[in-house]
Symmetry: C2
Subunit: 364 residues, 2 copies
């Protein structure tokens, strides 16, 4: 159970100022801040449950889940901004952090060890980490000894994004040497790792990202064979050039028309791993996109969506392999680090504006 | 190799009359007839190849692949009718038939045996059936001894539609006892078999079809637990009533918004087998539909398209099981039989108008 921590309302008030710069109407923002404040104030403390561990936040993730975020700064339509504000509220209550255990009644979570969990924007919390404890997104996971590597990687390449990339690519798509692998949202926390793993598996790797700077980074730093700015390139045409025989593997972080174009460019027996989409699961407001079923039939494609929690029981296996690749320099990572817990809203707003490259984190 | 059989142009001229009743412009139809005539006239006879078997057509299939066909009679938009005419031409050259071998140089295809293949609208043909022979859709397949059952079933429940239903459901969806299975195009040649197999596997079976008569047939004759006319029912609402906990298995014969509604009504770990779609594989003209990727992620769904040729090597296994179920009365079939080869165009046009229930075949 969470305690009724008061940091969130304060931070959201500060976030309000940042979000105003993004031209979100004051009334709508205040509504959302009020919603969030109410939510935090109304958290029930279940005093019947034993409290198992105290956690001290060491670094904090500012998650950029959806490529669609980038469109906030374009102020395209008010509906999009509205849904972004809703997501801001979700993020503030649901962000992941890596924390040190300062007091514990749980044998598996001893004092001094580091833990990753979803506790929202707060610098300390009381968490129930027992085997039957309720959790959001993921149960608390122990961080292995990272040696000289920064602890914040537990929120990126050596955390949930790394696990999503590793198993979501290898288990769902099963890429083979010589195949063509396409990644959308390729400069994101998950996509950038997916592309590098596909390259390590001897695939030809093609990435799509939302700016020329990101495209340059993918090609020059991360070793992508091809990368394109989807805002200035026709996806179908780009793939005709870069993969004239078709695409074998597609790791989908974005959905929408970009994904329809990639799927309709696949060749026989292609595999699609769906990790992210432009829309949350909200049936009444799902957008339309070009259908992919005819290609699925004629090319006998397989598409599978996943939540990374599917591989909780293989967490250690994935992190061990990823840690080795990072240590050997085979997988490069990039973080945009903001110093100071009070600057979280600023970091968040900056991410919405596309200021960050790679994982955006806050050093508490 | 096909010979330059002259039946097709004659039949297409006759078809022209039938199609005119469907309000297709004469000019457009004549263009298509000319295209088809040219195509047949220009068939090359490769005299270097040995001729392996003579076939005599016994029954002939008039394929109703796409639910979209039903919309022809509604004369909704000219583009649809245009693509229908194109499909008519394809059908005339590509329809399947079951035929008796009257002369043969192929040891595996002895005189007197029956064979299924895709030889178009013709009452006799010369076909290369050697192991390296080129083929359309499927190589010629020997028909097992059907005993008292009609030979035309080799074009339906004991042929390609049966194999598509059997392996497409069991191998792709792996339905389990107690699960909820939804079938679209449920009264079609494939869909009606899929629903009955799902019922035999102890699933709760829900079908969607395009008329009240078909819905009645599915529920009263074929044992579907629920069936709905998708033209007069909201698919999402119907599923909320019939499957309040969500759908586990979806066999998709139609695509489009109906399929988006079913997929967005699925529960965790659902499996989707994609057999048919509203559109052929023509990238430039694919329609849009509500996206399914968010559901794929949050429910961890798996979707797979297939061509029935994938299971050519298990043809006998499938036909043996289906024949047993038909003999035991566990799977019911329905045919609309038209007598006389010369009535093929009439049968075809009738099918476009929804006159048939179950498989439409022509007795040559």
């Amino acid at each position: 159970m969470r305690d009724a921590c008061k940091e969130i309302p304060d931070l959201v008030q500060s976030l309000a100022g940042e979000m105003q710069k993004l031209q979100i109407s004051q009334a709508r923002l205040e509504d959302n801040v009020q919603t969030l404040t109410n939510r935090v104030d109304n958290v029930e403390i279940d005093t019947r449950k034993s409290i198992d561990a105290y956690l001290e936040v060491q670094a904090q993730k500012v998650e950029k889940e959806l490529n669609e975020w980038l469109e906030v700064k374009d102020r395209e339509i008010s509906a999009k901004i509205e849904s972004d504000v809703k997501t801001v509220v979700e993020q503030a209550t649901a962000a992941a952090s890596v924390a040190r255990v300062v007091e514990s009644r749980a044998a598996d979570f001893p004092v001094g060890r580091h833990v990753v969990g979803y506790w929202g924007w707060r610098d300390r919390t009381v968490a129930d980490v027992g085997p039957d404890a309720p959790y959001f997104m993921s149960p608390a996971m122990l961080v292995p000894d990272l040696g000289e590597l920064p602890l914040s990687l537990s929120l990126g390449v050596l955390g949930m994004p790394g696990i999503s990339a590793y198993f979501g690519l290898l288990e769902v798509c099963k890429p083979k040497e010589g195949e063509v692998a396409v990644v959308s949202g390729a400069a994101g926390a998950v996509g950038s790792i997916v592309g590098q793993i596909a390259r390590l598996k001897w695939c030809k790797v093609i990435g799509f990202a939302g700016s020329d700077a990101k495209v340059k980074w993918l090609k020059e730093e991360l070793g992508f064979h091809h990368a394109f700015n989807y805002k200035t390139n026709d996806v179908t045409e780009a793939l005709k050039q870069a993969a004239p025989d078709g695409v074998d593997v597609y790791f989908d972080n974005v959905g929408g028309e970009l994904s329809s174009a990639v799927v309709n460019s696949m060749r026989e027996w292609g595999r699609i791993s769906v990790c992210g989409s432009i829309s949350g699961y909200n049936e009444s407001s799902l957008p339309k996109a070009t259908i992919i079923q005819p290609a699925a039939i004629y090319k006998q494609l397989r598409m599978e969506g996943f939540l990374y929690s599917r591989w909780h029981d293989r967490w250690e296996e994935g992190i061990t392999q990823l840690t080795q690749w990072v240590r050997e320099g085979k997988i490069k990572y990039c973080e945009t680090v903001t110093e100071g817990f009070q600057n979280t809203p600023k970091a968040f707003a900056g991410m919405l504006q596309g200021d960050n490259l790679g994982k955006a984190v806050v050093k508490v």
